[in-house]
């Protein structure tokens, strides 16, 4: 990959003493400042690594600002960490140890599987499925009736995509996740609990990654939707009728209750939860173990249960630390004031 292609990939500016020559240089990979070889590109994301710059053998550097210590072409980018990830990702590709449609898979004759898709042994493909070119279906995957898998998407082993689930292009569904199981819709009554049939489905847009052991439940009527570019960690639960916005990051063991809607760029840290029917605006960030029970449009970080702004939460935590001592001070004050009242004139003691 030539340096000019990398510049296009990440939309960087080139800082160079010989543009023509540098643009044509060939890059073999990405590595850290101390480990990069003469054909690799490196990056500066942390100022404390600046001392490594003059000793680095790297062919080129990604940096937020030009660095005089580095002797070679520099790619100026506002977010070197993102740029590094983007380039690494370009050099990386999964190795799938199978090709073609295995005779040991079950592929229903009424399924439509691209000849350029891969289906491993023991995968189950139901009637009405459509699997596009470049898609890879691992062993023990279950694809229900009319499931659609877009181009180049990978479904890892044991994942179950129930009837009608639609997965976009360049998606990754990790092992043993379940998409499209029934939403939790029940009406309790004196004569037992009645099930509300869940006849909707699940839609996963392009470039979404779903971690291992996640559940995304089918909607009651319409569709539960994960919008483009969102990434889910492991054990994440998305309940029925939820919409997860674009480019969300939902960390491990977080959960979103029914009918909630998340804006763009929302982040849920580990073990966070969102109550039913909540609307979160763009760039809302729920901290670890946070429980959000109110809708909010205000971006920024929230913490606690019930969730409040991080700033307020840290103040409350600090205050609570002082509480046991404050109660003693309060006892003491009451004693003092009662002494004062006892000692003062009768007309002042009336409380």
């Amino acid at each position: 990959m030539q340096l000019k292609e990398i510049i296009t990939l990440i939309s960087a500016k080139l800082h160079s003493s010989d543009r023509e020559k540098d643009l044509a240089k060939s890059i073999s990979g990405v590595a850290s400042l101390d480990k990069a070889t003469e054909t690799e590109i490196t990056f500066l994301t942390n100022p404390s690594w600046r001392s490594y710059l003059d000793k680095s053998k790297a062919l080129a550097l990604i940096t937020a600002q030009p660095m005089v210590e580095f002797n070679g072409p520099q790619l100026i980018h506002a977010n070197p960490y993102w740029a590094m990830a983007k380039i690494s990702s370009h050099f990386f590709s999964y190795t799938h140890h199978h090709k073609g449609h295995s005779d040991l898979a079950f592929i229903h004759p009424e399924a439509e599987v691209s000849p350029e898709a891969t289906v491993f042994p023991f995968a189950y493909v139901s009637p009405g499925c459509v699997i596009s070119a470049g898609a890879v279906i691992y062993p023990q995957v279950y694809l229900g009736h009319k499931v659609r898998i877009g181009c180049n998407s990978v479904v890892f082993p044991g994942a179950c995509l129930m009837d009608g689930t639609e997965v976009g292009e360049q998606c990754i569904i990790h092992a043993n996740s379940v998409l499209g199981a029934d939403g939790f819709g029940f009406a309790p009554g004196t004569d037992g609990i009645a099930k509300i049939p869940q006849v909707g489905s699940v839609t996963i847009e392009n470039d979404v990654e779903v971690g291992a052991l996640c559940s995304i439940d089918r909607a009651t009527f319409d569709t539960t939707r994960i919008k483009q570019g969102s990434k889910l960690d492991s054990h994440v639960h998305v309940a029925h009728n939820v919409t997860v916005g674009e480019n969300n990051m939902l960390c491990a063991q977080s959960g979103i209750a029914g009918s909630s809607t998340l804006g763009k760029g929302v982040i849920l840290a580990g073990q966070a939860g969102v109550a039913p029917g909540i609307v979160l605006g763009d760039n809302v960030v729920l901290g670890a173990r946070c429980g959000m029970i109110e809708s909010t449009d205000e971006p920024g970080q929230y913490l606690g249960m019930p969730a409040i702004t991080a700033k307020t939460w840290f103040r409350q935590v600090a205050a609570t630390k002082k509480l046991p001592d404050a109660l003693k001070r309060l006892d003491n004050l009451e004693k003092k004031i009662n002494q004062l009242l006892a000692a003062s004139k009768p007309d002042a003691t009336d409380s």
Copy 2:
């Protein structure tokens, strides 16, 4: 389905101007007030929808009280939401895209599978299993030694039912759940951690639904039991030796530690937890993210960690909001009182 059958199904009272004629009317389905057609039944669960009553085309209405605005037969039921769910559920049935016992399944010759049961390809049925009529075993399901599946129960793909697990009738086990894995029984010692063998089993009574990716662990000696009619959402953990009572609702990512016992009608909201050896009485409701560490017989809602009554918790949350300000007021009071003490007579300053 005739209106009189529906009345029997939900035990409703008919409010009608022409009983004979109305009872014989045929209903094709359930729909909301604005969407119901001339052959469908509708429902009023929310007073704000009352304005739709006179425009609705529905053949009949389910309502808690007779509504003059609706022109047609009315089914009077104390819980129209439950009644609606019950009828919807009656009209709905899963479509299973396979019939009979697949040659691509592994069915041990010593297993007893009803000819009226369905076994999909790649399901594994161990010796000693008994699968009753109407049961459906999806692909990649594992049924261990002597597992029993009752009539009309459905086991969705990838679910693992380990040795000796018993599932009742009309149960639904969603994808990738695990019933009967070893309970977490260990004795730590200076010479490592010793495993306590888990030789009990798991019993699921009739009409139970287990969500995707749940774990219900086998008992140490006896049985871990989910009683009739209970419903589990996704990612729910039920530890060894637990008894979940009748008609419980356990929401997503909630967990019950070992040897706890839940009464009837208990609800665990999302991400709630119950400590080991706890006994919860009938109709106890644990709110979201609540951690119950004491037994209680008192019905009603609990919140917080450690869990307290919802009323007390809301008071504490409100008070904690005021705490940082209260600490400042306390500082200020101390200053004032010290001034007063300094200004007062010597015999009053003794604290």
Copy 3:
């Protein structure tokens, strides 16, 4: 099993009136004081059971101190509960209802499977795998490229061990767990979220047990490691680059974020969480639902979010209970002091 073998197994001291004869006695199993037969060994772990000692039929007793009430040989051990578990575990072994390498499994010709290992139908073994003697691979297990399974380890149904995962000897991996799925490494940018390739792996040392539905993610570069003797309950999440120390116990639904390191004998109670990059020293115990966001070397129990020492947490919980009342007392004090100030001399009212 002779009594002398049991004594060696648990390193106990024998308290006996006839050593030679007692050491040769044969034990058939372990049971509680009231249920043990004439050939079984029993144990006293709880002083309240002492009254059963003289009526017990057991052949021998495990106890922390000699008990005059028991008539027979006594094995003195500081931790009778651990000793009981150790012996029970010795008498117990799983029954696997299959032998040999099934023709219905997929075993790649470039995999190396010991003739003394068991592979069930529908298991998938990729090229480069090494499965050692005594290992058991259940149905619907997926073993990726170059996965290694040590002697006598059991992989229960539906577990997915992705490329390069290494499992030691005498390990148990319960159903539907996922080892080696990609770690959650992403760099958010204005132009979408870039994936950081996860090219490391997962290493499970000897005598580790992983519960049902756990995820242990592969490292970004190096390895995510679970050290010898650790036990994981169900739904546990171990993120990329984590090291779990020796003999840890991680209870259900607990989670460890990326790059954290746990010492020896660490315990995480149910639903506890550890933030990214945390270092926990030996014997740190995180209580239920605790969220640890700071590193600590101090052993002992922690609780709360953010986690603090259990002692401090219990004090804060008790103080918070009094808070709503304390605020009223504060209001009242302010009134009184304002009255006093109003009544006092002008030079004392200056606040």
